[in-house]
């Protein structure tokens, strides 16, 4: 068998046919990143609030937080997204709101509409439940002695949480939390099921039209791999930068 030449390889993978779909894939990637970053930061804020509620809240607040966390973790993300994105239709609300912007190739695209927005919010609400558990774990790992010490110099509960517990538990949570940060980009692909033009849906389109499934999905895999490696790298840089010296 003769070795395959580069030209033959290009021919086999038919990369030239996929080039036509690169703008779609690029816009899909932007959408995925948009969903990801929105959900990650919404989930971060929500997760911290839920973790504080569950760990430090009184009987009522901690039960509400726990119920929310268990509900969001206990039901499928896809079901949550389907339920929430059909809500405006079910309630007969106006769904025509959308923002259309030109992409970098000069083609106007729907950047945000009601479905995309609801999808991003649901991803954030879901991620918040998982993130809360990472933070709660790190809050529980702070020694009780420091709480006593904070009390003994006359700090209020609020000051103790804000100045003693949070700065330490947020730092400690980073390695575990990075799990969520690298998981979430892949999770956003469920947006495809409600018609959000994300990276996965662009790939599906390109694969369907060119019949080059292997090439297209390999490309998507490489994109995710690069993305996730970058996120991991950034987070470990951040962790090393903010970790408490000597520990």
């Amino acid at each position: 068998m003769r070795p395959t030449s580069p030209n033959q390889l290009i021919g086999m993978l038919q990369i030239n046919r996929i080039v036509e779909y690169l703008p779609d894939l690029w816009n899909g990637l932007s959408m995925t990143m948009g969903l990801y970053l929105f959900a990650l930061f919404l989930g971060l804020g929500l997760g911290i609030v839920l973790a504080i509620g569950r760990h430090y809240g009184g009987p009522i607040v901690s039960r509400i937080s726990t119920a929310y966390i268990e509900f969001m973790r206990g039901t499928p993300l896809l079901a949550q997204i389907l339920a929430i994105t059909t809500l405006p239709l079910a309630l007969n609300l106006d769904t025509s709101w959308r923002i259309i912007l030109q992409d970098i190739f000069g083609t106007p695209r729907i950047t945000v509409d009601i479905t995309i927005l609801l999808c991003a919010i649901t991803l954030g609400l879901n991620s918040g439940a998982y993130q809360a558990e990472y933070f709660r774990g790190s809050m529980a790992s702070i020694s009780g002695g420091q709480t006593l010490a904070a009390k003994s110099i006359g700090m209020t509960k609020r000051q103790e949480i804000r100045h003693i517990a949070l700065p330490q538990s947020l730092r400690r949570a980073i390695p575990a939390w990075s799990n969520e940060a690298v998981y979430l980009p892949k999770y956003t692909t469920v947006a495809y099921f409600v018609g959000v033009p994300d990276l996965f849906s662009a790939a599906k389109l390109a694969a369907g039209r060119t019949f080059q499934s292997l090439t297209v999905y390999s490309l998507v895999a490489v994109i995710f791999l690069v993305l996730i490696t970058a996120i991991s790298w950034i987070l470990s840089r951040i962790y090393n930068r903010v970790k408490i010296p000597g520990i």
Binding site: L148, S152, G154
Partner: protein, 256 residues
């Protein structure tokens, strides 16, 4: 005329059915150093925690300069700021440099500006001879150094009284001296202190009164001379004998 800083009045505390404190009463006067000692499980640490309400008692009352800490109207966090506490395990804030461990109280609780709090903290660090170590994190310091930071953290609040809960028990033997020395210094400056310790050398040097506790009650009180020459109760004699066997004669090897 001596003023009472702390009054402990018939304090009782039980954990479930285990009675830890069974009617403890004593007064602490301005500038006085009280040493509390006794076998483990006698309720010494609980007593200290009751005094600043980290563990509220079931019965009885604690007064700080005549004001009850049990009063539901009282702002407990405010009152607590007047009572320093030095822990057996130091309990420094792990994410803060030594100087910030000390200045956070004056800044957040006493409402000083960052600069004022920093100055107060620096002076407190000087007192415990840690001023060259201000920029180290707790995990970078030895146990003795950490405990001195712990003492500085209390001093910086300019408290009415400082409670010491076995401050040298978690330390390697060669680190105990530096901590005791600092405690001697501040005792001689007139700091009001209640110290739970088995360091009899320290007690002999500065204690105005020693309180021997066992099984949740005060068995015997007296001056160091009283305890070292002729303790009355059987249990005190027995316990002091055990300490002597362990640590040798109650002689102080620190400069007094």
């Amino acid at each position: 005329m001596m003023t009472k800083v702390i009054e402990v009045k018939d304090v009782w505390k039980a954990y479930d059915t285990l009675e830890v404190l069974k009617g403890i009463s004593f007064d602490v006067f301005e500038g006085e150093v009280k040493v509390v000692f006794g076998p483990s499980g006698s309720g010494k640490s609980t007593l200290l925690r009751v005094i600043n309400m980290l563990t509220p008692p079931d019965k009885g009352e604690v007064l700080l300069r005549g004001q009850s800490l049990m009063d539901p109207q009282a702002d407990l966090t405010k009152l607590r700021a007047h009572i320093g506490f030095v822990f057996q395990n130091f309990n420094l804030f792990a994410h803060l440099k030594a100087i910030d461990n000390v200045s956070i109280g004056p800044h957040l609780v006493l409402g000083k500006t960052k600069e004022e709090a920093h100055d107060i903290a620096f002076k407190a660090l000087e007192k415990v001879r840690m001023n060259d170590w201000g920029h180290h994190y707790p995990a970078q310091l030895s146990g003795g150094q950490q405990q001195r930071i712990g003492i500085a953290r209390s001093l910086a609040m300019n408290p009415d009284v400082i409670l010491f809960d076995e401050p040298t028990s978690a330390l390697d033997p060669e680190l105990i001296g530096e901590v005791l020395q600092v405690m001697l210094d501040i005792a001689k400056e007139g700091t009001t202190m209640i110290v739970v310790t088995h360091e009899l050398g320290f007690a002999r040097a500065v204690a105005d009164e020693m309180i021997f506790m066992d099984h949740g009650v005060i068995v015997e009180t007296g001056t160091p001379q009283h305890f070292f020459q002729n303790p009355k109760s059987e249990r005190a004699i027995d316990f002091l004998h055990k300490l002597e066997v362990l640590y040798g004669q109650a002689e102080t090897d620190i400069e007094s």
